[in-house]
Symmetry: D2
Subunit: 260 residues, 4 copies
């Protein structure tokens, strides 16, 4: 070990000449043995997932891989790509648009769910009761409820599918129950249902698996990097430089509907 | 279809209210059925990988997931994270440091391999002969040979493992042969071996699977996003704000050596 | 005017073919007639500054132009520049490190000053009394006081000079008084003086001139862009690619001390 | 001086506790004595400008301060700003769109001018003859001529004004002559005039003042930072979050036409 005052510690990867270990495992041993999604789980948690965790993490990553030409991150990445700059410049610009208003609700929703479960535990009330109190408090102080509502979908198919998978994988516990309680209480208060969105469903599943809220947005960003990069490559392949990009004017002309 | 002059086309994802299809497949159908890496392959190529392609793409992504505290992207992401800014700011800054000098050699190496194979085909010479000519030309005009040499590893275990897997997956064809020919010719010219690095091995495998060179750096960046995000989260969890980050002073204190 | 639903309005610059007007003035008329700093003032406020305002804005911009090799933004911009990427990538990465913890205290300090002056007005107390209450409240709820203290300077010469100029320019009013009241109250509470830093001095001067707090960090960032760009150019001119950059190891070897 | 192997040198700013010197001058002495633009000149060149240089640098910076809602950098900065992220995120994204295709032609044009003047000197031909050869060579190998043509203006008023000022300031020498020779030769070859744009005019003036081409894009970026920041602040002040931003749909509603 180095004897100097500037030493700092890291527990992620031990990189030495001709040896690279992620959380203790040789990366060359992991290669060909585990899928990438399990290495992601390992990087975040320090352990390999069991089969159910692995399946749920894959579903979370697949759900967020792309959303076509509608999100601001896509429009930004394509606009910057049109300016004859490197891939990393266009990608970084797209990522910078991910925040509370777009793609960044997972973390806040995980905090909300955590508060609800904690309240139920501490005050000895049911999850439903805790959800009602959390919604009432949020409305009283004008706090938004991240994880509810989508400007595009009214019944996001990804949300339903993720909850279905969570149940199959035995992860349908108190955190998912808490978010559903919040959804119900909010619907009652508003007089109409503002459904759980995909960010909310991801948040609930990550809570079920024990992830801290700080990790929440990371999964969305990792997954969406693939979508943004493909939009940048398509912009370069199909469009002239410096074109004006109009939102709402994209038309899908790819593969027709098909099934696995 | 919209009747306006601003229409542009995209073949990646068809996002409509309550329906999102990636390259024709419903994302909610893909969830729970394919691992994330296969969705990545689908996004790039428009089709699902076969078993061998899927395994090789997973190995490529796992190989690049992190490299500890040594790369400039890690140091940059951590320095920015220490300034009390959002995750996306620190991540974008890290990504901006990925270029020809760090993590960005895949694309250039794919072009080099492509030129070698094309020359062999067009001029009716062996891959070995073509590799010698390409190296001679590169040296004559001072062109660097991306994919060879590493400032850290002399025998990168990831490189050997990736070539081993390529062979297992029946992807050990003329493109890998071409890069090895370039390595040999360069060693003869220099009087010492400058070994193929992980970027080179990834480049050769992507060529074998038929990817265009423009996609090359994308795989590295997608994979490394996970590493960068975990370094940012660790910086926040373990270090004070605005600390000075000294390269070479990181000490690994995580999980001990272990095996699958 | 366009007849479409997508119209949006902007009051900054009217750019038409062969005519560009900033806040109503032809840019070609402004060229050669006003210094850049006055055009900055015009862009922010919609009017040209008087002589005193112009002088104070110039002093603010000059004060923030660079701080050598110590700030994280400099180290980040140089590290990214060393990776063989465009100027804009290195500059953007440097800018992304500017936040509450570095260079971004102006806005928060302007809000603090504004609250103090408003309290004095609304509750009919003296600025000194309001400053004491604001500090007491901040300490009670663990709120930081932006604009006080510097990790590097104990008697920042820029702060004293800026207050001197503010007095010369007749801008030494209630906002500067408020910040000094906060400094005094905090010193009394802490038992030692935590002096107003340059961010604080800029904040007080911008308040005196009537700028909204949202504009605060902008001046620092505009000014520092010059410093960051020069560090990037120097990195390219003097250093090898991919070098390791050690904080605290920079030695100044430029022009010797001189005077106007 | 530190005795360690990690020492690196910088000649820009000497920052010590309670003393900050830019190129040898105390920043607190410069404050109130020189306008910001002269400090920019000092940062780049290591000396203070004379009156003519100062005036020309101010004109260059003023010319580039903003171009309304048309450039991609503005649209990108506003789109990102609409996503509820910090000022620096939106600004960095805007800056990342500045490249060869937008705002980044100054450097390339300076190189072009430099080659022309060097050819005239080395081969003993007139500037006009050298300009013709450079254009012929560029056309032969498909090289673009940066600094000519604008997608928006046919007679950019900033260009004419900058050349007028250059003449007033006695900077109308061989570099401006070279760019005009290139413009003429290109017009003759194309059969129609592709006029020098503002990037070209700035490039010629920076060459006249002796700046290296690497500094070229820096002036545009420094100046435009002000425009981008004001667009971000206006987006926040006037528009809802996550709005769709349509290019070509911006209408100016600011101050009416006025004169100094």
């Amino acid at each position: 070990m180095k004897k100097d005052e500037h030493i700092w510690k890291t527990a992620i990867t031990d990189a030495r000449p001709n040896s690279i270990r992620l959380r203790g495992y040789r990366i060359d041993e992991l290669m060909g043995r585990i899928p990438y999604s399990q290495a992601v789980f390992l990087a975040f948690t320090g352990r390999l997932p069991n089969e159910e965790e692995g399946r749920l993490v894959d579903a979370i990553l697949v759900s967020s891989i792309d959303h076509g030409a509608t999100p601001p991150s896509t429009l930004v990445a394509r606009t910057v790509a049109g300016c004859d700059v490197p891939l990393t410049s266009a990608l970084a610009a797209g990522i910078l648009s991910i925040g509370k208003a777009h793609g960044g609700a997972v973390e806040g929703c995980m905090e909300l769910i955590g508060e609800t479960v904690t309240m139920a535990d501490k005050e000895g009330v049911s999850i439903e009761e805790a959800g009602q109190r959390i919604v009432a408090e949020a409305e009283a102080c004008g706090r938004r409820l991240p994880g509810l509502g989508h400007r595009y979908h009214t019944a996001d198919p990804r949300t339903a599918r993720l909850f279905e998978l969570a149940e199959e994988c035995k992860f349908s516990g108190r955190h998912i129950q808490a978010l559903k309680a919040i959804e119900s209480a909010f619907a009652k208060s508003k007089g109409k249902k503002i459904p759980i969105n995909i960010d909310g469903a991801i948040a609930a599943c990550l809570c079920e698996m024990g992830f801290p809220s700080s990790a929440g947005n990371g999964f969305f960003i990792i997954a969406r990097t693939t979508g943004l990069i493909n939009h940048i490559l398509e912009e370069w392949a199909r469009e002239p430089k410096m074109r004006k990009i109009f939102p709402d004017s994209a038309v899908y002309d790819g593969e027709g509907d098909r099934s696995l």
